[in-house]
């Protein structure tokens, strides 16, 4: 039941926040904050109580009949992987509310309504284990996100939001066809109509059909992740979204793509995924290098940060398709740490834009002298982004590279070049924006206590993940074991034959 509460609290909190704007401008913020905090506590309580029920596949689940005519269940379940993603969701949810505290001054009630509902959609995606419910949540989280961009975004918001929506909707519909094909093939072989994840896992598929269905799923997740040829919505959406929108997009929405690959693509279609591995790994490496090189040439600070996401999530794709314990642990670490470090960078860029009303790198410079705390925080997260040892991102990318080395040496070497390139863009960003003379004679207030508090918590989080990532890996371990059991092949089986 606790899983229902997780989502219901967000949905009801959103409605309440929307209504309360009639009476006060601060009430929606506090209601949202309180609702997400309650969810964070609930998630922590699942985490604390999880060792009590190790024998079961899920720590907790809710399974209701929903549309019996089609064999559709309202089935939510949580394991270590979902739990990590949920915790990240609620944490970044709080960050999103706090970072829009002064940025959003218009239509506050509707803003928080959308914010809460997009979080509820994302939480449902991480919890759904009925494929119909999963698709339902997958599509539903787009609409509040669309409104966040299109109402509170920057100059080209309508273009960016529409592009975002069309990309995800098109790929989502392809996934729906794939889900339906899987559903009917499962019925042909077993005589049972079901969308249940655990029952569909063992479906026997013909080779061609398996590849086609897997591609349907892969495209949907690849657009979200994003994988390079399908990434073009991302820089626009991230740049035009309000700060909270960028934080949620980069921190959470992209992770739903990685989560989908981990949870569905490889366990449901192990053989097709195996055949597809060389392509996926190559796409991952292309993403790493392309993202880093493109980030280097950006003049818009927010766009720069957006392209670094393309690069970092290339590591996630590389890790997932390498499919061995090291690489998978690396992928999950990268997903979480990218959520924190890039989320924090968007908070900082958003705060900077609120102060100087531009994102143009050419108009910045010398900001360290006037806003040392903000600049130092930016330096910290840039270093995290370029993979400085001791910070979380390093652990993730290092583990991915260790894991992918077993699968393909050549691609691992190329991916390492991507880390090198990240040094260039991170340092260039610091150089152009914060160091050098203050030629534009900017005068701006430094971090406020509210911003300082968010940033401090995120810094501590990254340090913790960098020095002692074991709790995360331990939480993930049982889920990873069961995922790997489903695939039922030794990790070396995915090795690419030279």
């Amino acid at each position: 039941m606790i899983l229902i509460f997780l989502i219901a609290i967000l949905l009801l909190g959103g409605i309440l926040a929307g209504i309360s704007a009639r009476w006060s401008t601060r009430l929606p913020r506090w209601i949202s904050l309180a609702a997400i905090a309650v969810d964070l506590v609930l998630a922590a309580s699942i985490w604390a109580g999880r060792s009590l029920s190790v024998s079961k596949a899920w720590y907790d689940e809710v399974d209701w009949n929903w549309i019996p005519n089609f064999g559709i269940h309202f089935h939510l379940a949580v394991d270590g992987l979902s739990l990590l993603m949920l915790t990240l969701t609620f944490f970044l949810g709080i960050v999103a509310v706090l970072c829009s505290w002064t940025e959003i001054r218009e239509k506050i009630g509707f803003f928080h309504f959308n914010l809460m509902w997009v979080l509820a959609g994302i939480a449902s995606v991480f919890l759904a284990v009925d494929l119909f419910l999963f698709y339902f949540a997958w599509e539903l989280m787009l609409i509040p996100m669309y409104f966040l961009i299109v109402i509170w975004g920057h100059e080209r918001r309508v273009y960016a939001a529409t592009k975002f929506f069309l990309f995800t909707q098109c790929s989502g519909l392809l996934m729906l066809i794939a889900i339906l094909a899987l559903y009917f093939i499962h019925h042909q072989t077993t005589g049972v109509y079901t969308f249940e994840y655990s029952e569909l896992l063992g479906t026997t598929l013909g080779g061609g059909a398996e590849l086609a269905i897997m591609l349907g799923f892969f495209v949907a997740f690849a657009v979200k992740l994003p994988v390079v040829p399908m990434h073009t919505w991302l820089p626009d959406a991230h740049t035009e979204a309000p700060t909270a929108g960028s934080v949620i997009l980069a921190g959470l929405l992209l992770k739903t793509g990685g989560y989908g690959l981990l949870r569905f693509v490889i366990p449901l279609f192990p053989r097709a995924a195996h055949e597809f591995t060389p392509v996926a790994l190559t796409l991952g490496v292309i993403g790493i290098i392309y993202g880093a090189v493109t980030a280097f040439s950006q003049t818009d600070l927010k766009r720069l940060v957006a392209y670094t996401s393309v690069s970092h999530l290339g590591f996630v794709l590389l890790g997932i398709f390498s499919w061995n314990p090291l690489a998978l642990q690396g992928a999950i670490m990268t997903m979480i740490c990218h959520g924190l470090s890039t989320g924090a960078l968007f908070v900082l860029v958003g705060g900077l834009q609120e102060r100087i009303h531009t994102r143009d790198l050419d108009r910045m410079g010398g900001l360290w002298t006037v806003a040392p705390r903000l600049s130092a925080a930016a330096l910290f997260f840039s270093l995290a982004s370029l993979g400085l040892p001791g910070l979380g991102d390093f652990v993730g990318e290092f583990l991915v590279l260790l894991g992918s080395y077993k699968v393909s040496v050549a691609l691992t070497v190329l991916a390492t070049l991507g880390i090198l390139a990240s040094t260039f863009y991170a340092l260039r960003m610091m150089q152009r924006a914060f160091f050098g003379p203050n030629t534009n004679s900017w005068r701006l207030p430094d971090l406020t206590p509210r911003e300082g508090a968010i940033i401090t918590v995120m810094i501590l989080g990254l340090l913790w993940l960098g020095f002692y990532p074991q709790p995360v890996l331990n939480t993930f371990a049982p889920a990873m074991d069961s995922l790997q059991r489903e695939v039922q092949m030794p990790s070396t089986a995915l090795r690419i034959q030279p």
Partner: protein
């Protein structure tokens, strides 16, 4: 005709009686309130008499009409949507200077024609139903005789509908020449393609012209945008929902078996479906008039319905029925909103009229957003379940090319729905438009439709059960 026949025909008989009573009522006392009330009473009685007719179904009444659960389901949908149109018309025509009462008479007659179509199993009843429907519609479309675009739409509809009826009649004659029977079952029981049936295929092709015209699928769609734009908003809602529902009901009975038996017929409908999905969605991109957008989108939606029709399984019949219910609820809501925003001078059709509506009328704009999302097939609306059902029936029949076209064109469709959503939510315009209160009848209908739209989008099981019980579906 014995008692059981009378009972089975009760919904249609009540509709016919309502038409007479309304006519006499107008003759005695010309009153908008009274006429609307009589109409609504008659439609409600007809709707509830379906439960009286259900126990005796299935029953063949003469060789013309078959009252079975399938017919009763569509009859219910037709009468209910007509009742919603009647309520919406009341407010819409309240400020109209001319004579308002005859509209209700035409509305009831058109509903009767639609009901006959849904129950017909014979060319004679098919044609009679179609003509009663069409002739009433000519009057309804051109009801505002003072408005140029309404007259233009009426004339256009008159000419094209007559021509298509002629094609249909010729097609029927050819089929009759070949099979010697006017009952639908004569084509159903024949395996097509035999050399002795050389006239049958041309006959079917010609009757497809007549049906395709009424559905407004490509290439018979030319009247759709002009009629939707020119007709008063409640009448456009009627043209879009009730009349098309009736024609789909007759199409399924008439040609669904043939489309499975004959590759030529299958190909014909596939071409129509693909052309409708593409043309409807692409042409809508250039429209700035909400009624025209709805017109082009309806072309696309009937393309989607044809995809399920082509799948030809029992799931497909259920998918068509569900999609029609979803489409009817959605479109009635859409035109209902257009109607309540319209003034007595002009319909609120221009996209500009909807600029920033959310900040002025949050509830109305939220409902309109739900309508647009339903048309686009986004989850938590009936449109999504309908689209899911159609995709499921297509996937079940392995009609991959058709459902791929459906998916790709509906992404194009998403674009123009989003454009309207953006308009609804954009910043408030400078000019202050008059804020009129929505009269309670329209508010009740719109609220009820909106609740249905979301309720059956989130929890469609009751409706799916009903459709399975009456039409047959999955499992």
């Amino acid at each position: 005709m014995n008692a059981a026949d009378t009972l089975a025909l009760l919904p249609l008989l009540l509709l016919a009686a309502t038409a007479i009573v309304v006519m006499l009522g107008i003759a005695v006392k010309r009153s908008h309130e009274l006429t609307a009330a009589l109409t609504l009473l008659g439609l409600t009685a007809s709707f509830f008499s379906i439960w009286a007719a259900a126990p005796v179904a299935p029953r063949q009444v003469t060789s013309l009409l078959l009252i079975d659960s399938y017919a009763l389901f569509y009859l219910g949908l037709i009468v209910a949507s007509a009742a919603a149109v009647a309520v919406l018309s009341y407010r819409y025509f309240a400020n109209h200077d001319g004579q308002r009462e005859e509209l209700y008479l035409l509305l009831v007659l058109a509903t009767l024609g639609s009901g006959v179509l849904a129950t017909s199993v014979h060319f004679a009843s098919f044609l009679l139903g179609l003509e009663v429907l069409s002739i009433s519609l000519y009057g309804m479309v051109a009801y505002f005789t003072g408005r140029g675009e309404a007259l233009e739409a009426g004339i256009k509809y008159l000419i094209l509908a007559s021509a298509s009826a002629a094609f249909l009649l010729f097609g029927m004659a050819l089929i009759y020449a070949d099979t010697g029977s006017m009952a639908f079952s004569s084509i159903r029981n024949l395996s097509l393609g035999g050399s002795s049936l050389a006239l049958l295929l041309p006959g079917i092709a010609l009757s497809v012209t007549g049906i395709g015209f009424k559905l407004g699928v490509v290439p018979f769609h030319l009247w759709i945008p002009d009629v939707y734009e020119g007709a008063p908003a409640p009448v456009a809602a009627f043209v879009a929902t009730t009349s098309k529902t009736a024609v789909v009901a007759v199409l399924l009975r008439f040609l669904m078996p043939a489309s499975q038996q004959s590759p030529a017929v299958f190909f014909l409908f596939s071409a129509i479906a693909v052309a409708s999905m593409c043309a409807g969605n692409i042409l809508a991109l250039w429209q700035n008039n909400v009624k025209r957008v709805l017109a082009y989108s309806s072309i696309a939606h009937f393309g989607y319905i044809l995809v399920a029709f082509l799948a030809g399984t029992t799931i497909a019949a259920g998918a068509v029925a569900f999609y029609l219910v979803a489409y009817t609820v959605t479109i009635l809501t859409a035109f209902g909103i257009v109607a309540v925003l319209s003034t007595s001078e002009a319909d609120a059709a221009d996209l500009e009229d909807y600029h920033g509506l959310f900040w002025r009328r949050p509830v109305l704009a939220s409902v309109f957003t739900a309508v647009l999302l339903s048309l686009a097939g986004i989850p938590a609306t009936m449109g999504f379940v309908g689209k899911f059902y159609i995709l499921a029936s297509g996937a079940n029949a392995s009609a991959w090319p058709l459902i791929l076209v459906l998916v790709l064109t509906s992404v194009i469709g998403l674009f123009y729905y989003l454009r309207i959503v953006v308009t609804l939510f954009s910043a408030e315009p400078e000019r202050q438009s008059s804020m009129r209160r929505i009269e309670c009848g329209s508010a009740f209908i719109l609220g009820g439709l909106a609740v249905l739209l979301i309720w059956f989008g989130v929890y469609p099981a009751p409706l799916l059960n009903l459709i399975r019980a009456t039409i047959g579906g999955l499992n």
